[in-house]
Amino acid sequence: MEKVVRQLEDVTIRFAGDSGDGMQITGAQFTNVSALMGNDLGTFPDFPAEIRAPAGSLAGVTSFQVHFSSREIFTPGEQCDALVVMNPAALRVHLGFLRPQGILLVNTEEFKPRNLTMAGYASNPLEDQSLSAYQVFSVNMTKLTREAVKDLKLSVKESERCKNFFALGMAYWLYQRSMEPTVQFIRDKFSKRPELAEANLRALQAGRNYCENTEQFGSSYRVPAAKLRPGRYRNITGTTATVLGMIAAGQKSGLEVFLGSYPITPASEILHQLSRYKNFGVRTVQAEDEIASVCMAIGAAYGGSLAFTTTSGPGVNLKAEAVSLAISVELPLVLCDIQRAGPSTGMPTKTEQGDLLQVLYGRHGESPIAVLAGSRPSDCFDTIYECARIAVRYMTPVVFLSDLFLAFGAEPWMFPSSADLPPIPVRFRTDPEGFQPFQRDLETLARPWAIPGTPGLEHRIGGLEKEHLTGNVSYDPKNHEMMCRLRAEKIEKIAQEIPPTRIDGPESGDLLVVGWGSTYGAIRTATEKKREEGKSVSHVHLRHLNPLPPDLGSILYRFEHVLVPEINLGQLLKVLRARYLVPAVGLNKVQGQPFETTEIEAKIDSILRGEP
């Protein structure tokens, strides 16, 4: 049978199954192949909070979504065009994300009464017409895999474990992906167990052949290469981008990188990855708790290291007192907050932007701090690099905000060459002549970085209020006010280096959508769409949240309406309204999930229609 190949601009596919089903590897392979085929990409994995919940349970479902395209894209996709489910629980959890008429590839083997019950199905959805809105392809992948490998003398368990590659083979046929990179991957991965390599290869091939040969599938799809900026690319998650940014900042500043951390989802992965780069002189310490981890970083910063501490919301609470010390003694430090859904333990494996106000204001007294946020996985590299640069230039702690969606999401990154990175000049104070620990640089108001070990600069610092210039303890009323204002002014000074704000869309008009952090992709896509529809809608995405860009106020005033979409109940919104007195409104979602483009589009439409 000759099959039709249709061309599509972009496709979102999601692989979902039990924790033991290998969905993460499957998704990663699909991603890799698509990257090598020249598509633009966005990916996002989704894990359960339980480590390995009972097989077949709803709690045990894990998934990986790939959005690949022949044009530039900014998100890992929202509604899926295709969904691969390995069992009833996966169907139950993920069906809601499949668009009407979407392709549903189902592994029928697991649709047995026990599993159906565990997934909360009263009847078998494959048989009760409840899936009639979709193009359902029911295939017993497990059985077909067993058969494909049966003469290899593997145990049943080992045989069946190859079924994810069967599913991948089907997906490869469906979207006309090249097999070669995955064939190579399997050969490498199982180089010590050739029989397993063979089994997985057969499963992959069998899946592909099944689609090619059976009548079930009438057409396949092609997504041509995208026109990306020429250059060398790699796929990168927000986490890896952050880690590389830390190392790059260390190399470019000539400082040794120190990380004090305590494991917490979704930040732990930074600790894991960074700890592998000791050959860059990187020191990572897993401390006894968050307080110790930030204190260790402060100790290292005091000693002249480029110090980081990584955590998520609950850890930021615990670090606040020590961050306040760093503000008071004016030492450089980057606090990375990889946000997750709160309050309290909340939903630790779900995303949120709930910590903006806490990092801005969550310390006692007047303790101003710089705050920057990454906006897409690859942007985490540039943002953390800039955080480090500001920290050492202004001698101040800086907060790097990211979130679970950014940290785990991935996209192609045209990586820079080290020579092109902005310099991070650091000069430790060494001259004892006229040294005063709190004498400030006129341009930045930074105090000198005078590290222990430097002869002649012996001095004392501490958390009590310090006398201007000398740094001696002072309870003088006017001095305290001066120091409070100087610390605030120093942070405000950072604004002098913020580049002009980029506006996507017209410079003035009906509506400006202002975002920060991981909402970038959804807002960008939605606002572009609206402009394509001829609407006067622009987009500003803030990297610098404190201080805000100096030109922001004048931009805001040029628009009729201002909309601030956030994955919280309106935090940047409060900041902008207080600062600029603009009647901005929020679009707020707190579901542990990113925005869907359509949600933002709908809000834009309603504002433009003049609805309240």
Partner: protein
């Protein structure tokens, strides 16, 4: 920076004066902290460590004002966290000599966790704990070392918290060097500080310190002329534990109990006495001896309870960095960027 370096010898011999800062010392007149400050300033010149390589890190409390008075590098941090800040500094700066100054509240109440973790990690740091069995700076609440029944600002009917024995706690937390000394016994204080300085690893020194405002006389029997000899026994490695005005009493082990014997009595024999071993790999002996508190007819032991060697966290960390560089070569940023699967998008022609 950041290379391991043997502490250099300063160019001219330093004196106590070199270690005095220009700040007025602001403890209450009569406070035991003065004596400790003075002994530290006297010991340092003997160590041959240049002033700029010395760092004093403290938490919050009367005792924690200490760094301001030292003409070295100093960092008066936040309550209870000095051990963690010191750990970060020492882990990244093996060339520095790092000293933690803390109080019984600072180290054992709010800072208890960092304290025990520093001990187990054994970073090369000295901890001087000024134990006055009271919160001085906040005006006289009881502390984790205050005795049961103590009436203080926060315990008008008497404390009901069973106290820590800091020596026992440290031993249970895998400490490699543990000692006790007294603010009033200058020679012993001096000698103990010297030993602590000589230890490679975390050296914990508990210093009984009189707070003459809120807990005056807490250690009187151990420091006053009339009573001290009868109540204090000096631990010396390889020697029996003796005490008494004429060293006429000694400590003997009976099962797992310690008992005091009077050597002037007929049946008592010197050979029965417990010979102290501070270098015993096992902390058991130190633990038994730590249970003597100067009560129940047994003396208070002072001196070095334990001094054993074990790899330091900081050394191991630096060793891993060295090894990684050796194995993988010093990192190259461009190589790092360009790792994993990469692909090229060609300019469209």
């Amino acid at each position: 920076m950041n290379q391991a370096a043997a502490p250099e010898i300063a160019s001219r011999p330093l004196t106590k004066k070199d270690f005095e800062s220009d700040q007025d010392v602001r403890w209450c007149p009569g406070c035991g902290d003065y004596a400790i400050l003075s002994q530290v300033q006297k010991v340092l010149p003997e160590l041959g460590i240049p002033r700029e390589k010395l760092v004093f890190i403290s938490g919050i409390g009367c005792s924690s004002r200490f760094p301001y008075y030292m003409n070295t590098y100093g960092f008066h941090t936040i309550h209870g966290r000095a051990p963690a800040i010191a750990s970060g500094l020492r882990a990244s700066r093996p060339d520095l000599s790092v000293w933690v100054i803390t109080g019984d509240g600072d180290a054992l109440s709010i800072g208890g966790n960092h304290f025990i973790h520093l001990l187990r990690r054994n970073l090369d740091v000295r901890i001087l704990l000024f134990n006055n069995r009271i919160y001085g700076l906040t005006k006289g609440q009881y502390s984790p070392t205050s005795e049961l029944g103590k009436v203080t600002a926060s315990t008008p009917m008497g404390s009901i918290d069973y106290p820590f024995n800091p020596i026992s706690l440290a031993l249970g937390a895998e400490a490699t060097f543990v000692a006790r000394t007294l603010d009033r016994d200058l020679a012993h204080l001096h000698e103990t500080l010297r030993r602590a300085a000589a230890h490679r690893g975390t050296a914990f020194v508990e210093i009984y310190q009189n707070c003459n405002i809120f807990n005056d006389g807490a250690f009187e029997v151990f420091t006053e002329k009339e009573t001290k000899l009868a109540h204090v026994a000096r631990l010396e490695h390889g020697k029996p534990i003796l005490y008494g005005p004429k060293n006429e009493k000694g400590i003997r082990l009976k099962g797992f109990q310690l008992e005091s014997i009077d050597l002037s009595k007929a049946e008592a024999r010197m050979e029965d006495l417990l010979v102290y071993d501070a270098h015993c790999p096992d902390a058991t002996l130190a633990m038994i001896v730590s249970r003597m508190t100067g009560e129940n007819n047994l003396p208070l032991p002072i001196g070095v309870f334990r001094s054993v060697s074990r790899p330091c966290y900081d050394d191991s960390l630096n060793e891993q960095v060295r090894k990684a560089k050796e194995m993988m070569g010093p990192g190259d940023l461009d190589e790092l960027f360009n790792s994993g699967d990469t692909w090229v998008v060609q300019p469209s022609s």
